[in-house]
Structures are given as structure tokens and as C-alpha cells.
């Protein structure tokens, strides 16, 4: 868990018609190619995973998820449901805590997708424990992110609005990592917007969300200035 706590922030939001995953991608060097080195990965076509902590362990986790999903759909001829997949992944992650010949996964993963029963969002930790959430956050800025997420009204939220809120929340959570530059990566999965497939949000929507996040931030700053002047 300690390894995870210092990792960059990831969040997930379950809206009424889909899920949104977002990651604060810390950029360590100007030499890194912008827009590449994607952090959020896909399992099958309809499930997305965002993780914080030891990134190679996250890839291992996703690779296992992909194997499980393909075995299931080969057997039952339909895409795996997210609760079922989480069951299998929870078991797999827990296995790595049983023996001294392996070490536990150094990631907390947020898994979201849409299946026959609608949108689902889960978060799984290195112990193998997982819960279903409407809003989940992990990584360095999780406290800030969690308190912001709690303010959202998930029953009414659409996936489009959720994308904008995700950008805003990541920006606020980034305060904990203020000295570094970051890139925002957002994905969504919704029957109406993406046909049930997990995809990166289109460029124009991403820019809109970033602008929204900046405006919200500026407003907050203005409010603070006003109160200062008042005193």
C-alpha cells in the first residue's frame, strides 16, 4: 500500500449511463513524447483499468484480466460481466499474498465498464479486497479527490458531465504533486456515447474538460481573493 500511496492519482466515476476513468500522468522529463505512454488500459472491449503505484505490476494485473476475459468469452460466447471478472481478479491478487515466494501487487486498480446490467465501477487493492463504488480514488491525491467525489450527485450525472468533473478533480488533486508537470488522461465507457466500448475521450471533449477544470480553478482563486480582501 505504501508503494501505492506515493503514486500519481487515479479516479473513477460511475455516472448513470456509463463510467469515466481519469489519471494524472506526471511528466518527469521534457524528452517524453506527449500523448504517448498511455496509462489507462482496456480489458476485452468494454472494460477499462486505471491504476496507481508500481506501473509494471499494473500491466501484469491487466494482462491477467485480459486472459480471464478471453477465456470467459471463448467458453460462454458473450463478453464477461464486470462483477464476475472482479471475482476472478480478486482471487488472483489475493494469491500473491499467500506465499513467501511471491510479493503482493504494488498497485490499486480502478476497474470500470459497461455490461448487460449497466455500468459498474470497482476498486481493488493489493490484499485482493475489492468493493463496488460510485466514485473511487487512489494515489497521492486520493484524500482531496475523495472529498470532491463525495460532493457529486451520481444518480443524475451523465457521462459527459462526469468527464468534465473528472478533469476538475484531477486538477485539484494535483495540488499534492504541485511541483511537477502532468498530462491528463481520461477514458469513458457508455452505451450511448461509445456503443459500450471503452475508449479514450475524443480530443475536443478532452480540451473542453481541461478548460472547464481551469475555469473552476480560477473561480475558486477569485473567491479566495475576495475573502482575503474582506478581512
Amino acid at each position: 500500500m505504501k508503494a501505492v500511496e506515493n503514486g500519481s492519482t487515479s479516479i473513477g466515476i460511475k455516472a448513470k449511463d456509463g463510467v469515466v476513468l481519469a489519471v494524472e500522468k506526471i511528466v518527469n522529463s521534457k524528452l517524453l513524447v506527449p500523448g504517448k505512454n498511455k496509462r489507462i488500459q482496456t480489458i476485452d472491449r468494454h472494460i477499462g483499468v486505471a491504476y496507481s503505484g508500481l506501473l509494471p505490476d499494473g500491466r501484469h494485473f491487466v494482462n491477467r484480466g485480459r486472459d480471464e476475459a478471453s477465456t470467459y468469452s471463448n467458453m460462454y460466447k458473450e463478453p464477461v460481466s464486470i462483477p464476475h471478472l472482479m471475482d476472478r481478479l480478486g482471487l488472483y491478487v489475493q494469491n500473491y499474498t499467500c506465499y513467501n515466494s511471491v510479493r503482493p501487487f504494488g498497485v490499486v486498480s480502478i476497474v470500470g465498464g459497461v455490461d448487460a446490467n449497466g455500468p459498474h465501477l470497482y476498486m481493488i487493492e493489493p490484499s485482493g479486497t475489492y468493493w463496488g463504488y460510485t466514485g473511487a480514488a487512489t494515489g497521492k491525491g486520493r484524500q482531496t479527490a475523495k472529498s470532491e467525489l463525495e460532493k457529486l450527485n451520481f444518480e443524475e450525472l451523465t457521462v459527459r458531465e462526469a468527464v468534465k468533473h473528472a478533469a476538475r478533480i484531477i486538477r485539484q488533486a494535483h495540488e499534492d504533486n504541485k511541483d511537477k508537470d502532468y498530462e491528463l488522461e481520461i477514458t469513458w465507457c457508455s452505451l450511448e456515447e461509445t456503443g459500450g466500448q471503452h475508449q479514450f475521450v475524443p480530443e475536443d471533449l478532452l480540451q473542453e474538460a481541461i478548460k472547464f477544470a481551469q475555469e473552476e480553478d480560477d473561480e475558486d482563486d477569485e473567491d479566495e481573493e475576495d475573502t482575503e480582501m474582506a478581512t
Binding site: A3, K36, P56
Partner: protein, 287 residues
């Protein structure tokens, strides 16, 4: 970094959440001599500084060809790099055999990333002790990736690994725009060698014996140049030794370069000693 209770194997976390064995593996890379990679979008260049164990010994190969369109530069434990490069060669061949298409660079690096990650989570094996710069040209363009034993792989426009590589990275960051707008391979190679030169320690200089140059890109298969073939690019540099170390000797070096160039072109079989002897003689004469 000092020994502690949590660094015996890679399946133990430290109380602060670190994997010491993996971090030690990263140290092994810093012991290796420098390798620099840069890409302009249409070509990728890998240059490396070769080292020899003793004066009369051969220099350790630093750049390995994986396929006609892909190659790697290594820093760290060379045998580990051999294992990984053999694996990459198999993958590349498999892609041609099963899909009749050259292996995508991104698939190649993600595959060794996952392979390396296994060694950080299972008991009995140690993490790979080598860092790689993977350069490739495929249908999505020219790509350069940096591979680390932790299993982390990131795509860069310019990267450097090995001893004193931070100096090279600083050069690359400063010249990033110039590099990205290069249209000729030659320009790119010169930038790469300049960055490599910044990693040199005192009294060291780039010679045809210890410098390895390779490139790949649009309409160009992955080719490695060693020994005499490298002279053509060394001639294009202002100086083959690190300017910051030899602040006083700059002028002499400039005067020596063209002379050495013509001399060695003729006697290509002369060992390094003779070159240095010639330089010393020239120094005395101009002084």
C-alpha cells in the same frame, strides 16, 4: 544506498514501499558506459560509448540489431541484454512469419516490459541488470523507447542511459527543437554524438574505436557503424572531447581534428595509441 533488511530478494517490500533489488538493478545500469538515442520523427539514431577492459582488449558491443527495422542500445550487464535481444529477435521473426508484417516497436517493448516485470515479482530470479534504448521504424513512424529493469517502458524523443548520462540529457533537453526539426540523418547523428561527448570524463575523447553509431528510419534499414565508418561523423564535430573538462585545450583540439582525420583515413589500421601519439606530437609542434 546502503544494505538493509529488505534488500535480499525482489519479493520483499521495504516499509516505505520500495523494491530495493529493482533499485539496485537500476544502479547496475549507471555503471555501464553511456548510450544516447534521439529521434526526429522520420529517423532514429542510437550512439554509444564502447568500453574495453584493458588496452589491448576488444570493446564491448553496445548496439544490437533486432530486425531490419529495429535495434537496441544497451547499458549495464551485457549478457542480460543478449538474452533480451534474442527474445526480441524471436518476436520479430514470429511477426513476419505469422502476420507477414514487421514487428511494431510498441509491441516489442511492451513485451519485454512484461517479461522484466515477472522477474520483479517472483522468487528465484533477479531483475534484469540492463537498460535498453529501443529504436524502430514501423508503419506508425519512428519511435524511441527507454526500457528499465523495473518493467517500465516510456517513449521518448531523446534519451540517455549509463554513466554520466544526465549531462547528455541536459544537452538533449536544450536542443530538443533543433533535433525534432532535423531532416538529414547526418544532422541527427551529430547531435547524438555531441550529447554522447558531454558524458565523457576527463582525458577521454570520442574515437573510432570507442564510438558506435547506428540509425534506422524511413527508407533506411537499421545499420550499425563501427571503427573506420565512424570517422565521417567524428570529423563533423567541433571536438571529440568534453569541452567542459578541457576548457583550456579547446583551440588545440580544433586544430588537431582535421589533421587527424586525414591521417587516419589513410592508415586505417593504426591502433588508437598511434593516434594519440600523433596528437601529442602536433601539440608540441604548435606550442
Amino acid at each position: 544506498m546502503f544494505r538493509n533488511n529488505y534488500d535480499n530478494d525482489s519479493v520483499t517490500y521495504s516499509p516505505t514501499g520500495r523494491l530495493f533489488q529493482v533499485e539496485y538493478a537500476l544502479e547496475a545500469i549507471k555503471q555501464g558506459s553511456a548510450a544516447v538515442g534521439i529521434t526526429s520523427g522520420s529517423h532514429v539514431v542510437l550512439v554509444a560509448l564502447k568500453r574495453n577492459a584493458e588496452e589491448l582488449g576488444s570493446y564491448q558491443k553496445k548496439i544490437i540489431k533486432v530486425d531490419d527495422h529495429m535495434g537496441i542500445a544497451l547499458a549495464g550487464l551485457a549478457p542480460d541484454a543478449r538474452v533480451l535481444s534474442n527474445y526480441l529477435r524471436k518476436l520479430a521473426m514470429n511477426s513476419k512469419l505469422v502476420f507477414n508484417r514487421p514487428l511494431l516497436t510498441s509491441k516489442a517493448v511492451l513485451s519485454i516490459a512484461d517479461k522484466a516485470q515477472e522477474n520483479t515479482q517472483l522468487y528465484g530470479s533477479r531483475p534484469y541488470g540492463v537498460g535498453l534504448l529501443v529504436a524502430g521504424w514501423d508503419e506508425t513512424g519512428a519511435h524511441l523507447y527507454e526500457f528499465q529493469p523495473s518493467g517500465s517502458v516510456l517513449e521518448y524523443n531523446g534519451a540517455a542511459i549509463g554513466a554520466r548520462s544526465q549531462a547528455a540529457r541536459t544537452y538533449l533537453e536544450r536542443n530538443l527543437d533543433a533535433i525534432r526539426s532535423c531532416t538529414e540523418i547526418e544532422e541527427l547523428v551529430v547531435h547524438g554524438l555531441n550529447a554522447l561527448r558531454d558524458t565523457l570524463s576527463q582525458d577521454m575523447e570520442l574515437t573510432i574505436q570507442n564510438t558506435s553509431v547506428s540509425f534506422v528510419g524511413k527508407d533506411k534499414d537499421f545499420t550499425i557503424h563501427d571503427n573506420e565508418d565512424v570517422q565521417q561523423w567524428l570529423d563533423k564535430l567541433d571536438s571529440t572531447s568534453n569541452d567542459k573538462n578541457n576548457a583550456n585545450d579547446d583551440e588545440d583540439d580544433d586544430n588537431d581534428e582535421p589533421a587527424e582525420g586525414t591521417a587516419t583515413a589513410a592508415d586505417s589500421t593504426q591502433p588508437e595509441l598511434t593516434q594519440e601519439g600523433a596528437a601529442a606530437d602536433d601539440n608540441m609542434e604548435t606550442d
